[in-house]
């Protein structure tokens, strides 16, 4: 196991390196002079040259890359071109909203998706199954921004039960924070619910067809106990994996959702950074997001290997 763990961590390093090269090169393709967007059209050539030197833009590309990576490795992601604030600090400020949104969405998805998937499996080929599967397809086919618009329209504007947007930190006003998080979390969680439902239904049906279930039935164990104890436990392994692999899709969803509900998270940070052409912010924020996704995938693989001893390391 230790060998496997070390090998998997070692595999992560070249991927992270390639990610940072791709990210750096992509953002350097940006047309136009960044000093124009910072200083404005009227700035003198001398001011601009001074700023370029200040930002390190006069150095050759490889040198800029080495400086950036060197900084990243020591926890320094550079400074925002617009505000001069350290990017690492800005990201730390933005993380709580995104992490909270992601966690609530995931909890909702599991709390609804697993029971719904079990119900669809045990009521296979009945109206209940068709309805649940249909809702799953609908949820997978609804873009997050559309669901968000519908939810705001119904619950914030028509029924007026929740505020349409905005954010209060949990530490300041827990109730106000949670009320404002409901719609965004439902939005982000909608596709994950559908994935969890499909996977739970599929693996439970597969598990119920196994020989050990027939044996359990033959010994006279009740149906409820067979489903919840014998089949579900084995069916859960792929559900855990598939849910964890949704983390990338979850991050894509938060980008759009945070923008609509004006939540100060990583998504709005990236989108606003792109609009204001604040390269160091976009670069740092995207790198943090990708690293996080890769780490979650790694942990998932390790949990999977630990749960299922048949996997050889």
């Amino acid at each position: 196991m230790t060998g496997y763990l070390l090998r998997r961590v070692a595999q992560l390093i070249p991927v992270l390196f390639i990610v940072s090269v791709l990210l750096f090169v992509l953002l350097r393709l940006l047309p136009g002079d960044p000093t124009t967007s910072i200083l404005g059209q009227e700035a003198s050539a001398a001011d601009r040259a001074a700023l370029r030197a200040d930002l390190g833009l006069d150095a050759p590309l490889w040198r800029q890359f080495v400086d950036w990576i060197g900084g990243v490795l020591t926890g320094d992601l550079g400074s925002s071109w617009l505000t001069g604030e350290p990017v690492a600090g800005v990201i730390v400020d933005r993380l709580p909203a995104t992490v909270e949104l992601g966690l609530i969405a995931l909890l909702l998805a599991v709390a609804i998706g697993i029971p719904a998937g079990v119900l669809a499996a045990v009521r296979r080929r009945t109206a209940t199954d068709h309805a649940l599967t249909g809702i799953g397809v609908l949820a997978l086919s609804t873009p997050h921004f559309y669901l968000a618009a519908l939810l705001i329209g119904v619950f914030a504007i028509w029924l007026r039960v929740v505020p349409p947007s905005g954010y209060v930190p949990f530490t300041e006003d827990p109730a106000g924070n949670l009320v404002r998080m409901v719609l965004p979390a439902v939005t982000v969680g909608s596709t994950v619910v559908a994935v969890v439902l499909r996977q739970t239904r599929g693996s439970l049906l597969a598990a119920l067809g196994e020989d050990y279930i027939r044996t359990a039935q033959a010994t006279g164990i009740g149906r409820r106990r067979i489903v919840t104890v014998y089949a579900l436990r084995n069916a859960m392994v792929p559900v855990v994996t598939v849910t964890a692999l949704q983390i990338g899709a979850l991050m894509s969803a938060t980008v759009v959702t945070e923008t609509i509900f004006t939540l100060p998270g990583m998504g709005t940070l990236i989108v606003n950074g792109i609009f204001s052409r604040d390269l160091p912010v976009v670069q740092g924020a995207v790198l943090v997001v990708v690293t996080f996704v890769l780490l979650v995938n790694l942990v998932t693989d390790l949990i999977y290997a630990w749960l299922d001893p048949r996997i050889t390391y």
């Binding site: 953002l27 047309p31 873009p143 997050h144 921004f145 559309y146 618009a149 923008t259």
Partner: protein, 291 residues
């Protein structure tokens, strides 16, 4: 245990017949045909989709404007029809480019192996580590907003997915007898890939392309929703929902109908992929041992 390899009667039917008997395909194909027709009709309707009826801003559905008007008094139905062009471009141009490029990369990487495979696949791993929309945003950040750049961004995010799937298929196919035989008789690699591997990939590619089309349409709509995709005055469904979101208190219909168009198109691609997979699978002899 005896294995029954005789195809069942249902499996002997051609794929297309099986597909047309599938309820999911019967929903999906007319919806997709309607989208293509709308895109084809867009030159006829673009004048109407740009005309402003200043008497009726943010109006609800009426006889004159069946789906209402937007904040500039433009007809929402005409704009939805006109906006279908963008959706069709995403599903054909962007996904098509990714399909061709990704298939070529996957074929060569999988068949050749060695350092080429290692370099390509690590790059693919790197690209796939980005959440899809985050990578598309990064590409758009580099190239600037607009339809053409959004199409490029979507092709960039989709290509590695095709490469990954094709490579996996090639790895399992290349050890088969007919491939080794073709190699032994000295068939040049490009001809071998085209004649002896590609035909076996077609089914997988069709299903995967339908799924990727649905993802790509969501990605384009999201980019346009964020204001980084199609730029005004050209209509796109995502940007129309965005405009509707800004005026939710004044008009319920403005975001509902364009969003419904996106939803139906994506659902159609998802269901078509499911139906296609089943139609193709049943066509293969059923090798599961009889119990």
């Amino acid at each position: 245990m005896p294995v029954d390899t005789t195809p069942t009667r249902a499996a002997r039917r051609p794929v297309l017949t099986r597909l047309l008997r599938d309820r999911r395909a019967r929903f999906a194909l007319p919806v997709l045909a309607a989208v293509v027709l709308a895109a084809a009709a867009s030159p006829l309707i673009s004048a109407r989709s740009r005309a402003t009826d200043t008497e009726r801003l943010l109006a609800g559905p009426s006889g004159r404007h069946p789906l209402g008007t937007d904040e500039l008094g433009r007809d929402v139905l005409a704009r939805i029809v006109d906006g279908a062009t963008v959706t069709v471009a995403v599903a054909t141009v962007a996904v098509g480019a990714a399909l061709v490029l990704g298939t070529l990369l996957g074929l060569f990487a999988g068949y050749r192996g060695g350092w080429l495979d290692a370099v390509l696949m690590r790059t693919v791993d790197g690209l796939l580590a980005f959440p899809l929309l985050v990578l598309a945003l990064t590409v758009v950040a580099a190239l600037g907003p607009g339809l053409r750049n959004a199409l490029i961004a979507i092709a960039v995010v989709t290509t590695p997915r095709f490469a990954r799937v094709v490579r996996a298929e090639v790895l399992s196919l290349r050890t088969r007898e007919w491939v080794s035989a073709a190699h032994i008789v000295g068939l040049p690699t490009p001809a071998l890939l085209r004649r002896h591997l590609l035909p076996h990939l077609a089914g997988t590619l069709f299903v995967f392309a339908a799924l990727q089309a649905s993802t790509a349409i969501i990605a384009e709509a999201s980019l346009s929703f964020l204001g980084l995709g199609v730029q005004p005055p050209q209509p796109s469904w995502g940007a129309m929902v965005a405009a509707g979101t800004d005026h939710l208190d004044a008009s319920w219909s403005l975001s509902v109908f364009p969003g419904l168009a996106i939803l139906l198109t994506i659902a159609a691609f998802n269901l078509l992929a499911d139906a296609l997979r089943d139609a193709l699978d049943a066509h293969r002899p059923d090798l599961t041992p009889a119990r």
